[in-house]
Amino acid sequence: MTELSRPEPRTDGRADPRPARTGGPWAFVGWRLLHAVGVIVGVVVITFLLLHLIPGDPAQSMLGNRATPEAVAALRHQWGLDRPLWDQFGTFVARLFTHADTGDSLFYQVPSRSLIFPRIGVTLELVVLAGVFSILITVPLAIWAAVRKDRLADQVIRIIPSIGAGLPALWVGLLLIVLFGVHLHWFPVGGAGPGPWLTFRGLVLPAFTAAVAIVPVLIRSLRAGMLDVLESDYIAAARAKSLSETRVLLAHVARNAAVPTLTLLGLNLAYLVGGTVVVERVFAIDGLGNLLFDSISNRDFPVVQGVALFFAVVVVTVNLLTDLASSAVDPRLRLPGGGR
């Protein structure tokens, strides 16, 4: 269930049912875009249906057991639950596309957009920082382990994924807060901002905590990927050309290892984003994650929908970008059908 995933092995052409496509790199970009749009359509549908997944009457369950029938009826009307499903979906989509909005917040009586948009910045910053941290932690460790395969460093680094797998972010966060926030005063204990510098400082610990959640998987896969590259014939060939070891590492190893790293990050992004939701709670950062929780507690459905939708769109977009970036590095991925 986790999106803690490794890049799947690219199947050799043999079982590939996909018709061969012709066309240059732009055909690939086009195809990939189309795919992303398809997923987003699916995401919109699921977000819409989320409300209808509630067993029984969503309005009733939203208002609680002892709500008056009039209040329930009013909410049903507000949500259009008394109209046919298709009609409701049409309205939902129309509002989404004209106003980038999933409806009025039930709690604050303002468009959910006006709650979501101001919080996007800090959350995205957190996600980006967490991504950067996980790369900064993963890449050197994975390379070190791969280069020193089976030696002590490797053995030690290889334990990290197993330990890290069971580290609850909230617990790590708690420990970090006490150590670096309360005792050492290096970083704020929670919250972020105002201003870019304070925001950055405030996000260091949370981003680190979020990174800790995915670093184990990244290390494991990247080490394997690095080993693949290091033991491959083309690296042997590059050495055989009497290139310097630095040149081999920079021009050949690094570039080839970059593709699986990128793919990996893309694949695990969803998990990372999900992790920041929790982390925002632990560190009291007023971002989308906290908004999601508050909205859930307030049973503020349209906001929940909006946040979920936003996150999904971010994930799809970033996946699109990592795919395009990978294909920029790796010409094979631009091949028809090579994109996935």
Partner: protein, 527 residues
């Protein structure tokens, strides 16, 4: 007197200040019941930076006439002011008024307004504004505290600075009522704007004005440069941030990230006390933590069930385990620090055998399951709920704990969507009438007896009598009777008396909290 359902921190509140009645700038250096004192001296005002004030809930509305939510009150108290305020000692002081006279029959009050007070937009405060505000507060549909003004027949402006209030009957708590935040003064007819528009960018006479407000997030206030007390406030602004977890709250203070935290989990009290960089405010409060029963649920309409449960509430254990002894075990629903508290009432106290006997007489002798509603942010109450959960097993009551986010908790509680709840009653004003009628008078008290649905005509009658009774000793006797009736009926079980528990950095001075838990910030200085 009203009690607001609130988190322990939380309280609807009335303003309190030490610059009572006097001319601007002299801060009273009054030693609060709390440990904070104001030591600031007059200056030109401002220059003290922005106070970072963290709380567990934020505002949802800034309309003083239409709220009792603590998150709202904290903010609007800095923007709007009433005619009188309660000071740190719990005494009433003239504020926007300079004084009043009462007619011989006790039915006509004439208030003199302070000269030179202006709203933050520069327009002067006049009697018209006061007339409009008091009537709006009284008449606001479904206003939760409108009952405070229920005795008022008419309010008229005699001249620009004189307001005449005519009552339907003599009314003991009037000046206290006038000091409630719900009687704060807003401009006449809200300057012609709709309420929604006006309270988006509110204009009041208070020391601060609203700069920005992220819904569900931070509220930023700036110094009102036209504030009538010259030289005040010292602060350039206030930033109220929301930290929904009270543990985070403490850590943010310890990490020097905020200047003031609005509540301290009892577990951390000792920690903070021993930290010289921090100041702990621990003072008696007009407040009581209650276990409330929703009488719309059949189980709790049965008095025997309620009494049985009351017999199982081990107040001492709760005081020790959940509040680390910071809150005293309670007997009456009036806190001891409040006028007319009576320590001699007989209570259905901790007694397991009595509980068994009591439940045997009820319609639910074989027990039942129920759920107890608590806000998830409050550690002490969650612990209390677990103590009760364990205790109620003795009479076969299975308790599920419904621990939800504060905002959702409030919604459920106000909507009678609960069975048993833990909540806290606070008296916002110096007169116990607020608490009495709020919690007993389900018709006029604005809250259906604190959202329990408790209805005892005899008790209501006594409350009404006490309101009209101007003789102090007679009033005291009436309240003694009221307290005994409540102790017998147990519409709610008073469990502990939580003190005011706030903490701030030692560099913050002039911070005062009155016994209703309310804070005024114009005298606060940061260094």
């Amino acid at each position: 007197a009203c009690s607001t359902p609130s988190t322990p921190i939380a309280a609807s509140s009335t303003p309190s200040t030490s610059t009572a009645g006097g001319s601007a700038g002299s801060s009273g250096a009054s030693s609060a019941p709390g440990s904070a004192t104001a030591t600031a001296t007059a200056a030109t005002g401002g220059g003290s930076g922005t106070l970072k004030y963290a709380r567990t809930t934020g505002p949802t509305s800034l309309d003083p006439h239409n709220t009792i939510a603590s998150g709202d009150v904290y903010t609007l108290n800095q923007i709007f002011e009433p005619l009188y305020v309660t000071d740190v000692k719990g005494e009433l002081k003239p504020h926007l008024a300079t004084g009043h006279t009462v007619s011989a029959d006790g039915k006509t009050y004439t208030f003199t307004l302070r000269k030179g007070v202006t709203f933050s937009d520069g327009s002067p405060l006049t009697a018209k504004d006061v007339v409009y505000s008091l009537l709006r507060s009284r008449d606001f549909p479904k206003s939760p505290l409108g009952f405070l003004d229920s005795a008022i027949k008419t309010v008229t402006a005699k001249d620009d600075l004189t307001v005449v209030v005519v009552l339907k009957q003599p009314w003991a708590p009037l000046i206290s009522d006038i000091s409630a935040f719900s009687n704060s003064i807003v401009p006449d007819k809200l300057q012609g704007k709709t309420a929604a528009a006006f309270f988006q960018a509110p204009i009041g006479t208070g020391p601060f004005t609203l700069t920005s407000w992220t819904k569900g997030g931070t509220v930023v206030l700036a110094r009102n440069t036209r504030y009538w007390q010259s030289g005040l406030p010292y602060l350039d602004g206030v930033e109220f941030s929301i930290v929904s977890d009270d543990n985070q709250l403490v850590q943010q203070l310890q990490g020097s990230q905020v200047d003031v935290i609005d509540s301290v989990p009892p577990a951390n009290v000792a920690d903070i006390k021993s930290n010289s960089a921090l100041t702990l405010i621990n003072a008696p409060q007009w407040s009581v933590d209650l276990l409330l029963f929703n009488e719309k649920v059949a189980h709790f309409a049965d008095r025997h069930v309620r009494r049985a449960i009351s017999h199982l509430v081990n107040r001492k254990q709760i005081s020790q385990a959940a509040t680390f002894g910071t809150a005293q075990p309670a007997d009456s629903f009036f806190p001891p620090s409040m006028q007319y508290y009576d320590g001699t009432v007989t209570v259905a106290g901790y007694d397991v055998d009595a509980a068994k006997a009591e439940i045997a007489q009820s319609k639910f002798a074989q027990g039942f399951s129920t759920e107890i509603l608590v806000p998830s942010s409050d550690q002490a109450w969650n612990q209390t709920a677990q103590i009760l959960q364990e205790a109620l097993k003795a009479i076969n009551i299975t308790v599920k704990i419904r621990s939800i986010e504060t905002a959702a908790y409030k919604k459920a509680f106000f909507g009678f969507d609960y069975e048993i709840a833990i909540n806290n009653a606070i008296n916002d004003i110096s007169d116990p009438d607020e608490m009495a009628s709020f919690q007993i008078d389900d018709v006029n008290g604005g809250s259906t007896s604190f959202w329990t649905g408790y209805h005892n005509p005899a008790a209501i009658k006594l409350v009404t009598q006490a309101e009209a009774e101007l003789d102090d000793s007679k009033r005291k006797a009436l309240y003694k009777q009221i307290q005994q009736i409540v102790a017998d009926d147990v519409p709610y079980v008073p469990m502990t008396y939580p003190p005011v528990l706030k903490a701030l950095r030692a560099t913050v001075t002039g911070f005062e909290v009155n016994p209703s838990g309310a804070v005024r910030l114009e005298n606060v200085k940061r260094s």
